[in-house]
């Protein structure tokens, strides 16, 4: 008995075999669609990764604003997690007055001191020491990924997410043995990831030694702060508090999270919009290309379509067969494009991430699930676009009289 096939399987097989009959043309179609799909997939993954990186960098922050000395340069990606290392300082006395300002809910003082003389790991590594007040902290302890099973105490240090010290181990800096209390999660913010975080109380104990080793630097003077992170009361706008701070505290600068986020988000939205427009253009051009190609393919096969109509194929069955054929070819192109995109992204991962880091964009790759979803979307979209491209020529051909199709030279 001959092997049996249902009509659906037979139509799918016809579609596949027709693609196989013209291998070179099919391969060119698959390659063209693969380029489109690969570009869309890579673009979508990179944009989503950048957006995700921004989310990591900003939306998990506890601070709404940062008050720093007027001359301080601020790195926008790091600003609302920690003040930047600088020799400019604020007097500690400002803290209580800031806390009392209308609209301010919490204040979190920080002092950041960058040095290569700490003796950290017995070398001359540049290390950022960030002193914070555990009781008022907004941005350090929420990021603890691992920590000892006890409260933070004097003589403890918290290491940034990219530091290698084991939790519970001992760390020697400025000749002081500190216990590694915990490690922060990866924030994609440099100072935060590579810093060593100690309480103001611990800094006070080490201050004299640090001054002896590093000299009398401004941040090491008593009662000095590098910056103060502010959390605003609900319903209060950053504009309201900004005016209050600038009016009452001359010589300070206010870094507002909202303004930064707005400008970055606006920039990102424009970029995203551009990429989306490019994706739409690529899909439309793919649809047009498939349409032109299938017009030619259908012209070649008019007699075959006429025969199918003559033996009883309904119009929608003919259209379905041609759309299946286009969908299969373009889906194959979509899969090839995603594989190509993945390969390219992995191949250029290091240089790409380095460049983005260099531009001040911390980079966090999307997880496999979301990448898979984007790939699935690209494959489905290319398949759909292919089918849509073939729809017009298929519909037009299927509407011709069977006799006219059979008589054609195709």
């Amino acid at each position: 008995m001959a092997k049996q096939s249902g009509i659906g399987f037979l139509v799918a097989r016809l579609a596949l075999q027709n693609l196989g009959r013209r291998k070179a043309r099919t391969l060119l179609l698959v390659a063209a669609v693969a380029i489109c799909s690969g570009a869309v997939f890579t673009g979508a993954v990179l944009i989503q990764s950048i957006e995700s990186s921004m989310s990591v960098g900003f939306t998990r922050l506890g601070a709404d604003m940062l008050v720093v000395p007027a001359g301080t340069l601020t790195n926008i990606t790091a600003a609302l997690l920690t003040a930047e290392p600088t020799d400019l300082t604020l007097d500690e006395g400002i803290l209580a007055r800031l806390a009392a300002l209308k609209g301010v809910q919490r204040v979190a003082p920080q002092l950041v001191f960058r040095t290569d003389a700490s003796g950290y790991r017995r070398g001359g590594d540049l290390v950022d020491f960030i002193a914070f007040d555990p009781a008022r902290d907004l941005t350090v302890q929420p990021w603890l990924e691992q920590h000892l099973d006890r409260p933070l105490r004097d003589g403890d240090v918290i290491v940034g997410g990219r530091r290698e010290e084991a939790v519970g181990s001992e760390l020697l800096v400025f000749g002081w043995p500190l216990t590694v209390y915990g490690r922060l999660g990866k924030t994609a913010v440099g100072t935060h990831e590579r810093g060593l975080f100690i309480s103001f109380a611990t800094l006070a104990e080490m201050r004299v030694t640090m001054q002896q080793i590093c000299g009398m630097k401004a941040p090491l003077e008593p009662n000095k702060l590098s910056g103060i992170l502010l959390q605003l009361a609900p319903g209060v706008t950053t504009q309201q508090v900004r005016f209050g701070v600038l009016a009452n505290f001359p010589g300070v600068k206010v870094v507002s999270g909202e303004a930064m986020l707005t400008s970055i988000r606006q920039g990102l939205t424009a970029l995203l919009g551009g990429v989306l427009a490019l994706m739409v253009i690529m899909f439309v051009s793919t649809a047009l290309m498939v349409s032109v190609l299938f017009s030619a393919i259908i012209t070649e096969r008019k007699r075959e379509l006429g025969l199918l109509r003559a033996i009883g194929a309904r119009r929608h069955q003919i259209v379905g067969m041609l759309l299946t054929e286009a969908g299969l070819a373009t889906a194959a192109g979509g899969i090839a494009g995603c594989v190509l995109g993945l390969f390219l992204m992995r191949a250029y991962q290091h240089s790409l991430v380095y460049h983005l880091d260099d531009m001040g964009i911390p980079f966090v790759w999307l997880n496999a699930t979301i990448t898979g979803l984007i790939a699935s979307f690209c494959i489905l979209a290319t398949s759909l676009v292919g089918a849509l491209g073939a729809l017009f020529p298929a519909w037009r051909a299927s509407g011709q009289e069977p006799y006219a199709l059979i008589r054609s030279d195709g």
Binding site: A2, L14, N18, L307, R309, I311, G312, R314, R315, I406
Partner: protein
């Protein structure tokens, strides 16, 4: 079985409309084997296409088994062709990428009135009756032109049609194969009572049928 009433077909040409068929009225009785004879361009193939529901007449009506086929919707007409009319063409009309058995089973599968197992069983039976049992799994390119034509006849018969239309079915075949095909038609007509209409320009073949319908310039001639 079949009646064509004032059937006409006009094609738009570069120098105006051309009447391929012009007011033909004919009747074919059930079980009759008729031939339509005429020179090239006489309109015989256009007439057959209108009878078979493949080309809409510019004027007139075609009734097959009391169904006005050109009053049917496109889908219903496709179903009617599938169930009641079989076609054999003057060229190799098998789909080259499908096996012989798939080609023959295709109308049955398209009709969806039989499941795949029944359709294939019937396809093998029909091929066996036409002496092609050994070629069920072959592809069209692997068998001779005569065998391909017999496979096309098997495909035309798979749904047990009431009417078999053949358009120059032996035009590119050698004499021996032509004789085999004509013997096959006569056997189908005699044994199954199948109504056959064959278009040919070969009077010798037409003389083997029950009735000759002569056509010239799109009109019937005595």
């Amino acid at each position: 079985m079949l009646s064509c009433i004032d059937l006409a077909k006009t094609y738009a040409g570069e120098r105006g409309n051309v009447a391929a068929v012009d007011g033909i009225t004919i009747e074919v009785q059930p079980g009759e084997f008729a031939s339509i004879v005429g020179r090239s361009g006489s309109g015989k193939s256009s007439l057959l296409a209108m009878i078979g529901g493949l080309s809409r007449p510019s004027r007139g009506a075609v009734n097959v088994e009391d169904t006005d086929i050109w009053a049917l919707t496109d889908d219903r007409l496709a179903d009617f062709r599938n169930r009641r009319i079989g076609f054999v063409y003057q060229f190799a009309s098998l789909l080259p990428t499908l096996r012989i058995v798939d080609n023959v089973a295709l109308p049955a599968l398209l009709g969806r009135r039989q499941n795949a197992a029944d359709a294939y069983e019937r396809a093998v039976e029909t091929l066996d009756q036409l002496g092609l049992y050994d070629h069920v799994d072959a592809y069209p390119a692997e068998i001779s032109a005569g065998e391909q034509r017999r496979a096309a006849i098997a495909r035309a018969l798979i749904n047990a049609p009431a009417l078999l239309l053949a358009d120059e079915p032996t035009s590119d075949l050698d004499e021996e194969t032509e004789r085999q095909i004509m013997d096959g038609f006569r056997k189908l007509n005699r044994d199954r009572g199948l109504t056959l209409i064959m278009v040919t320009h070969n009077l010798r073949l037409a003389e083997q049928t029950d009735r000759i319908i002569r056509i010239a310039g799109g009109k019937l001639v005595p």
